[in-house]
């Protein structure tokens, strides 16, 4: 079928090229930072007070290299990396040796997905609804006030906003915890468990929802204002169609389309996590894991997370491209 030849195949080739370049970049860049994970480990061992004579250092370096899979030339390592990518097994983390990267992902990913995905969704929904309404009634005073407020909130850096929230809700009014989540490994899915998670996730989620929602709000408001000027909306308005219908079926429905793409892209960022917020609230997310991996030259970990991230985003975009016509009947693949 022509569709395959003219559209799908090139699109998939592009998809593969993007993945290839991304992974190659992620292979080389950390190796350029001058950090040697083996030496990092040796430095840590030394800081623990263990004295090593030069021969011991040598043999330890050999052992670590072998364990880490860092033997051989760069090219050999590169080949190994690809083998791992295909097997989706990224080997052990260097600094959490011998824990496999996949194990780490299993531990952290649920937390990030829980926080990031929910707060992204909530902020998306809230931002879009509020933005939609404010955009639709953009001449009303309250709409202008909300807009001005959001304009001021939006540029506040996440870190500052997080700390302010933390101080207000964690110290001034001690409503929410300020530290790590007290759930042990023997977790059972019960009321207490859920409440604990909610309590601990509330402030980080609040930060993400407000700051993220502000962005969605502004985008949506603009979109709605534009859609409102479209002929079909004006027509329905003059035609006496109920306001409710107009808002939902005409304005929001149409303004929503670009937001769906954006949401997919935003959700695809889940593997990058929300580092700053995770930091402020000591949240066990993948952003911190990754950042730590980056700062300590844990190649395998960085590789594992970014490969997954690249794969999910590219795949999400590919799927979105393929299925967008379902959302927007006007679009056809050319």
């Amino acid at each position: 079928m022509r569709f395959f030849r003219d559209y799908l195949i090139p699109r998939i080739i592009q998809y593969i090229v993007v993945i290839f370049c991304g992974i190659t970049a992620v292979f080389f860049i950390p190796r350029l930072t001058g950090q040697d994970p083996v030496l990092e480990m040796i430095a840590q061992i030394q800081s623990q007070g263990s004295s090593l004579d030069p021969t011991a250092v040598d043999s330890l370096m050999g052992t670590l290299k072998e364990l880490y899979g860092l033997e051989g030339t760069l090219f050999q390592q590169y080949v190994t990396t690809w083998k791992r990518v295909f097997a989706l097994d990224f080997g052990p983390s260097f600094f959490q040796f011998p824990t496999p990267v996949s194990e780490l992902l299993k531990t952290y990913l649920p937390w990030t997905i829980g926080l990031f995905a929910t707060s992204t969704l909530i902020s998306w929904i809230l931002g879009n609804i509020l933005g939609g309404i404010a955009g639709y009634f953009s001449r009303k005073n309250w709409s202008k006030i909300i807009d001005a407020l959001i304009m001021i909130v939006r540029p506040v850096p996440h870190y500052i906003f997080g700390i302010i929230v933390l101080i207000l809700f964690g110290y001034v009014w001690q409503l929410f915890p300020v530290g790590g989540m007290m759930l042990g490994r023997r977790t059972v899915l019960n009321w207490r468990f859920i409440m604990t998670i909610l309590r601990y996730s509330f402030l980080p989620a609040l930060t993400l929802v407000i700051l993220g929602g502000a962005v969605w709000f502004q985008q949506m408001k603009l979109l709605v204002q534009n859609v409102k000027r479209e002929d079909y909306v004006q027509y329905a308005q003059t035609g006496g169609v109920k306001e409710r219908f107009i808002i939902y079926r005409y304005v929001l429905r149409n303004a929503m389309l670009p937001q769906i793409t954006q949401l997919a892209l935003a959700l695809g960022q889940v593997f990058s996590g929300v580092l700053i917020v995770e930091m402020v609230f000591s949240y066990p997310g993948i952003g911190l894991l990754l950042y730590r991996g980056v700062t300590r030259g844990d190649y395998n970990l960085v590789m594992g997370i970014t490969v997954l991230s690249i794969l999910t985003i590219t795949t999400a975009v590919l799927i979105l491209d393929l299925f967008y016509p379902l959302f927007d009947p006007r679009i056809r693949h050319k």
Partner: protein, 317 residues
Amino acid sequence: MSEILKARNLTKIYSLGGLFSRTKITAVDRISFSIQPAEIFTLAGESGCGKTTTARMILGFEYPTAGELLYEDQNLVELRDKKAWFKKVQAVFQNPFETFNPLRKVEDYFFETIQNFHLDKNERETEELIEEKLQAVGLSLCDIAGKYPGELSGGQLQRASIARSLLTNPSLLIADEPVSMVDASLRMSVVNLFRKMCDSFQVSVIYITHDLATAYYISDRIAIMFRGHIVETGPVDQVLENPKHPYTKLLIESIPQPDPQIPEKAAIQFLEEKEEYLRKGCKFSGRCPEVMEICKQQVPEDTSLDGTVVKCHLYQK
């Protein structure tokens, strides 16, 4: 007399498609025609019958899928140097308000054309040349000097557009529905211009329209297009006063006569464009009042008849 442009079996195929299905549309299907010097040749037909596609191919904006286009025996399809081509063939477009960039002054296009085609000798001559062409269309440089498209009326813009296209002294002017967006009160002045240009500058015009009345009014020869085919072609008087092809008849009937007394016509069936394009046999068979069995099977051949050429089974032996 030697033709300035000859189209032979000109064909353009587009492929359209959804997610899992693709269809090919032969937007222009093996059409042949030729243009004589200093004549007005009309391409008429309803929306989506391939008129613009033909024009774009002649202008070199679109490459024909098959067939050839000969300009003074030179195959346009093989021509690399677009600029040389544009010196000979120019165009006027449908929407006068879109012809010029809303953020640029109209006069800029004039100076640019002259500069790009190296028509100028010096500044004074440039202005004279522009003034000459503008005068010819009933404007003068001071009418458009310093003005943006938004500050001129549709008729003025369309006339300016014609004047611009004449700067290079082309031998062929393609006018794609040049008056359909121009106000009724100004329309005839533009239409008249084409005749005038044709006569005074010896430029041939391909006039594309679905308005047969103006076509009749100014053109020498006409070709009626339907879904990629030329179904009837010949001198304009013959074709329009004595139409042969049922589609031509339909077109003529459809013109709202500026005469309130005309009797009402029977309702017509209306089919979607793509459906007709994909039809086997004569594309018009779907709404032809005189449809025969063979029409649905076979594309009719061209038949010469009293100086016109018709593509219809009715006239085929």
